[in-house]
Symmetry: C2
């Protein structure tokens, strides 16, 4: 069956779609009440975040827009030191979308949510004119345990910045699909909880964390430098990139420093904690390619010490003429 305008009318066709697809996979006590809003009991500090997902194609190597939509918001909550708990899901369906595709994506969201330990407690679906596309917004609430103070404004001179793994995989995967290049590059789309869990369990004092998504590492480092009023000095040779992504980006003239990821993060610790933190996350499957990439200095902006021994300023990404990749 194809999605049509009746599915967005709020009437019986909408209700059937809810029951047959969303209700089948997002089944929980809160959602099944079908009220205007979920009612939840919360006590303490929370993180509250939103993200919209417009990736095209909606299915790709390593994931799909459903998995991505859960990972993205869950990761944003994790990056504030929170334990993700509740998500909402807002769908925009284009007319002509195959309901089998929608069901596969909803099932993928449910599976990813279950793995992340979050409940989808409220949702909304609209239908627009189009050619079978699909966009998903997720918003999330996570609980922040007492004593966690994670902020991009916390960096100070001497701190060390660690990246959790190889860069550029999501970007290279989506771009390959869009321009029709055959390769084996998979999106890194995933939930960063194994890494944050390992850090907190081992009592590493994390000062700042951020997932490295749109805009890439270069952009996140600039945001950190600006928020903390300091300079960041990055070592070119320390930036982890797989051989396949390196080859792909060399051919297309892309810089992994600005390529998007969906399962990578950086975090900042004091110099004393750096080796221990690196050792700990390298024990996790997700963090096995982690690397110390940068140090925090006095000053402003991001400077790269290049392979050849020179220095160059690393600006934020301006924008891209290439097809959108997230």
């Amino acid at each position: 069956m194809k999605i049509n305008m009746a599915h967005g009318s709020g009437g019986k066709a909408s209700a059937e779609l809810m029951k047959d697809i969303f209700g089948k996979y997002f089944n929980n006590d809160v959602l099944s009440r079908m009220e205007d809003a979920a009612v939840l009991q919360i006590n303490g500090k929370i993180a509250f975040s939103t993200d919209t997902f417009v990736v095209n194609p909606i299915f790709f190597k390593g994931g799909d827009i459903g998995k991505l939509s859960v990972c993205g918001t869950v990761n944003d909550l994790l990056m504030m030191g929170a334990e993700p708990r509740y998500l909402t899901a807002g769908f925009i369906l284009e007319e002509g979308l195959d309901t089998n595709e929608l069901e596969t994506i909803v099932a993928s969201m449910a599976k990813t949510a279950s793995e992340a330990g979050v409940y989808i407690v409220a949702g909304d679906t609209k239908v627009i004119e189009g050619i079978g596309g699909l966009y998903i917004n997720t918003s999330g609430i996570g609980l922040i345990p007492d004593g966690r103070d994670i902020s991009s404004a916390n960096l100070s001179e001497g701190d060390v910045i660690i990246v959790s793994g190889n860069l550029g995989e999501h970007h290279a995967c989506i771009l390959s699909a869009r321009i029709g290049i055959e390769n084996h590059i998979h999106s890194d789309c995933g939930i960063l909880e194994p890494i944050t869990h390992a850090l907190f369990e081992n009592e590493i004092k994390v000062k700042a964390m951020r997932d490295v998504t749109r805009g890439g590492l270069g952009t996140v480092l600039n945001e950190f430098a600006e928020a903390s009023g300091c300079s960041i000095e990055i070592e070119e040779d320390s930036i982890p990139v797989s051989q396949e992504v390196r080859g792909f980006s060399d051919i297309l003239g892309l810089d992994p420093l600005y390529m998007a990821n969906e399962g990578k993060m950086i975090f900042v610790v004091s110099n004393e904690d750096a080796d221990k933190a690196l050792h700990i996350i390298k024990q996790t499957e997700m963090g096995k390619d982690a690397s110390i990439i940068a140090k925090v200095r006095q000053g402003k902006g991001v400077i790269m010490k290049t392979h050849l021994g020179g220095s160059r300023a690393v600006d934020m990404l301006y924008g891209e003429g290439l097809p959108r990749i997230c």
Copy 2:
């Protein structure tokens, strides 16, 4: 200036758009930290809701998609008896959207949020291929005071259902714009807080509330009847519709019972509270056309006592062949 792909890249062009438009209007302490998520202190029961807005045209008589996007989620929170506090805003911008239009819409959201007493604490913007369109998701958190128990499952025999005013205005307004009919019908797009405030301040025991949006009154009454396992008997002559909307819908063969609204609600009280509740909300500007429209009976489904003295079953809306109106 027109929106282009660079504005969605997560780099400098995105950051400039944030600063020049979103930062200018959505300025508050939480948002200005520019972290991955807002950090908030919450204690107690909350309502958590999401809604996506795809109305076309994005500007219409009585409002715009920005105003609508705040009213919609704020109203969903109000309908659970909550005091709305925090919103997130997720934008999907189509390439070619004029940034002046975007700014007008963002300003409208900020004004409406301020009137509703809510803060926009987190946001996200994506850019997609298109022809200058715009879609907005808002998700919201509201605090539920102790002792409130509002649920569509609370109806029991003898209860009375009151609608807050004339039906069909949003639907007629948007449809007029889409099919090019000139008239003076304005959308009722607005925040229902004056009505909920009046009810709670006067200690009316509200059993259930719902805003009457997509699907119209007929659909909401069916949802209530099903959730509570009862029948609802509606009086045709009691349904408030303005003369202009009545004329418009007669010409097009539309039934106000299924037309969408964006500033109307129904609520359910016991028979003893009905006259007092009606009197109270009729004192508010927003509720001046309120009317007792239905009674709760044993049985199932929704029955209408018609103008001519007959009875007919009122089903949910199935779907519509007409242009989408919300």
